[in-house]
């Protein structure tokens, strides 16, 4: 069953399409990654899926949540769905929690938004949730204020709040980027486990290829607001077809670089909003660009379960 479907989702800020015809489909239990650098539009895509776009952004296209069309819902209608059908964990744990309220109470509030629970019952459930996100001494932590917790602990609280009402979809936007490296691995494992235990769908957004390859089965690569490539994670990362994906992989593969040699980068830098080239968004940085790239390359199938938007892709490994 499809729990989240984006159909040609477009988000305009002013006249600029910062998300340009993005389509993706998540079924129950799917783990999909959305890879892109800052400025690719990946966060706005996620926010659109929850109806949390800023006032200045206007969405277009189709969004379906568990079969229900949601793109034109009012705030009150959205409030019924958020937390209950779809939840999100954001990047910055230090500011994600109300600083003057104890964390247990914040989780309990999240529970009581969609369930008819007494305050005591909700708090007890909150403590249990904190235990499930592997916080030691959950009862003690529940009585603490956010400033008394570390970043990793706060992020776990946010995770607990997100999972409180067992949503069908969990969207994570760079949930571990702001955390220490040692904490990251544990957090990722926790997210994977909790999601699979509950049979939830996961949309994982990141710029970190290693993290995505760890957690996701499928990946979509985003650049300039568009999906440029998608497919199973091991195949896309093992044999990338789009020059941008190839460039990303080469750049992140530090171990492969000979000592003393220059690190591999993608030439140029990510253009600002509204400054992407016409036609293929990547062509001004692509070393495989052709004159024909002035036409927007369509996102077409490339093999049984891959999509590709490039007319001059990296040759297949087997050709």
């Amino acid at each position: 069953m499809t729990v989240l479907e984006l159909r040609e989702l477009t988000v305009h800020i002013g006249s600029v399409p910062v998300v340009d015809r993005v389509s993706l489909s998540l079924g129950a239990g799917d783990r999909v990654g959305l890879i892109g650098e800052s400025g690719s539009g990946k966060t706005l895509t996620a926010l659109a899926a929850l109806g949390l776009l800023p006032e200045t952004a206007r969405p277009g296209g189709g969004i379906e949540l568990c079969g229900q069309s949601v793109q034109d819902l009012s705030e009150r209608q959205w409030a019924r769905l958020r937390g209950d059908q779809i939840a999100m964990v954001f990047q910055e744990p230090m500011t994600a929690l109300d600083p003057v309220m104890r964390v247990g109470k914040q989780v309990a509030i999240a529970l009581r938004r969609h369930r008819d629970l007494s305050r005591r019952a909700a708090f007890a459930s909150a403590v249990d949730l904190l235990r499930q996100v592997e916080l030691p001494e959950p009862a003690a932590i529940a009585r603490r204020y956010p400033h008394q917790l570390s970043g990793g602990q706060r992020q776990r609280v946010v995770l607990a709040m997100a999972l409180a009402n067992e949503p069908a979809v969990l969207v994570c936007d760079e949930p571990t980027t702001a955390l220490d490296v040692t904490v990251q691995a544990r957090m990722l494992a926790l997210i994977s486990r909790l999601v699979s235990d509950r049979g939830m769908a996961l949309l994982f957004i990141s710029h970190d290829l290693a993290v995505v390859s760890q957690v996701c089965e499928r990946v979509l690569v985003m650049y300039g607001g568009r999906i440029v490539e998608s497919g199973p994670v091991d195949r896309v990362f093992g044999a990338p077809r789009h020059p941008y994906t190839a460039g990303l992989l080469a750049a992140s593969d530090i171990a492969d670089v000979a000592p003393g040699a220059a690190l591999r980068t993608i030439g140029g830098s990510v253009p600002g909003m509204g400054e992407f080239p016409s036609g293929c968004v990547f062509r001004n940085r692509c070393d495989r660009a052709l004159p024909e790239c002035a036409e927007i390359p369509p996102l077409v199938p490339d093999g049984p379960d891959r999509l590709l938007a490039c007319i001059n892709p990296v040759p297949r490994a087997d050709s």
Partner: protein, 315 residues
């Protein structure tokens, strides 16, 4: 936290002490010798000298200050040279008037400022929000005593539904107490409310953009509910810090408004004392007022500590 409290308390005491020195010093350096004033220009030097000794004004300043402070602790604010009456019994009944006015003024100001500020913040991009914000700009430019005069004109002179002045104590008749405080209270509150509303607006605007509002929305709260549940308490913090300052301004404003509505409070008495060059009375009253300002600020600081848990544990 106890250390924090002790430190603040200590500073309060220090400030009170310094303030008392300043007040005493200013009054002492003011030209005019009470003895000569009392006896007149025809008095003989011997008589003046004797009166000075009687009053104690021939002692060195430090010793005069010392006895003044000592008597303060026993609740004796001295005896006026002019009226021959004790100072504190004169002040005491009037305290109720002034503080009632400050209380009513503050409550009304908050009642005005909070909804107006929230409205202006939530609708800051729309015309209604901008208009409201503009109105608060106008409101704080107006002299409060002028508004008092105009209100008295409309409601007392023209409509005759509210008394144009005076005061009735709460114990005597609560309804009349309130009726006499409505116009003066509103005069104070309109201006202070306008000032406060700008701070409320700023605080709510800041809070609206905070991440935890987004987290709450992501969990199923509407924007309004998230603001109510999480935003208001956080927005209250900067507003409470302003309240302290505003209380002092309110106290001073109350003194002026008392004149407008001829209320028997500290204000009128103070002004009369100035007219009579009654320094002892002025000294005592100003000391009381300054002490009130300092203590009020101290209490607001405490309130601030209570509201923001981040201040409690960390140093």
């Amino acid at each position: 936290m106890a250390l924090n409290l002790a430190r603040r308390l200590g500073f309060l005491v220090l400030t009170l002490a310094v303030a008392s020195v300043v007040i005493f010093a200013v009054c002492a350096w003011i030209p005019g010798d009470p003895a000569t004033t009392l006896l007149g220009t025809q008095a003989t030097p011997a008589a003046v000298h004797q009166l000075r000794h009687q009053l104690g004004t021939d002692r060195p300043l430090t010793s005069q200050y010392g006895s003044w402070i000592k008597s303060l602790f026993t609740g004796d604010l001295g005896t006026s040279y002019v009226t021959k009456l004790q100072v504190w019994p004169q002040i005491q009944p009037r305290l109720g008037v002034t503080f009632s006015l400050v209380l009513v003024g503050m409550v009304l100001a908050l009642l005005i400022a909070v909804p107006v500020g929230i409205f202006a913040a939530v609708r800051h991009r729309q015309v209604s929000g901008v208009v409201v914000s503009g109105l608060s700009q106008i409101g704080l430019a107006l002299p409060a005593f002028w508004i008092g005069i105009l209100l008295a004109f409309v409601f007392s002179v023209k409509l005759d539904i509210l008394p144009p002045g005076g005061y009735v104590s709460f114990r005597q008749d609560p309804v009349e107490w309130l009726r006499h405080l409505v116009l003066p209270g509103i005069s104070l509150a309109l201006v202070q409310g306008a000032v406060l509303s700008r701070y409320v607006r700023g605080a709510v605007l800041d809070v609206m953009n905070e991440d935890y509002i987004r987290t709450a929305r992501a969990g199923g709260a509407t924007f309004a509910k998230a603001l109510w549940r999480h935003g208001l308490r956080n927005a209250a913090i900067p507003v409470v810090t302003v309240l302290g300052l505003q209380l002092a301004t309110l106290l001073i404003g109350a003194i002026v408004i008392e004149s407008v509505f001829t209320m028997p409070g500290l204000g009128l008495m103070l002004l009369q004392a100035v007219g009579n060059r009654d320094l002892v009375l002025v000294e005592g009253t100003v000391m009381i007022l300054v002490a009130a300002v300092l203590v009020l600020n101290f209490l607001v600081d405490l309130l601030y500590l209570l509201i923001d848990p981040r201040l409690r544990s960390s140093r």
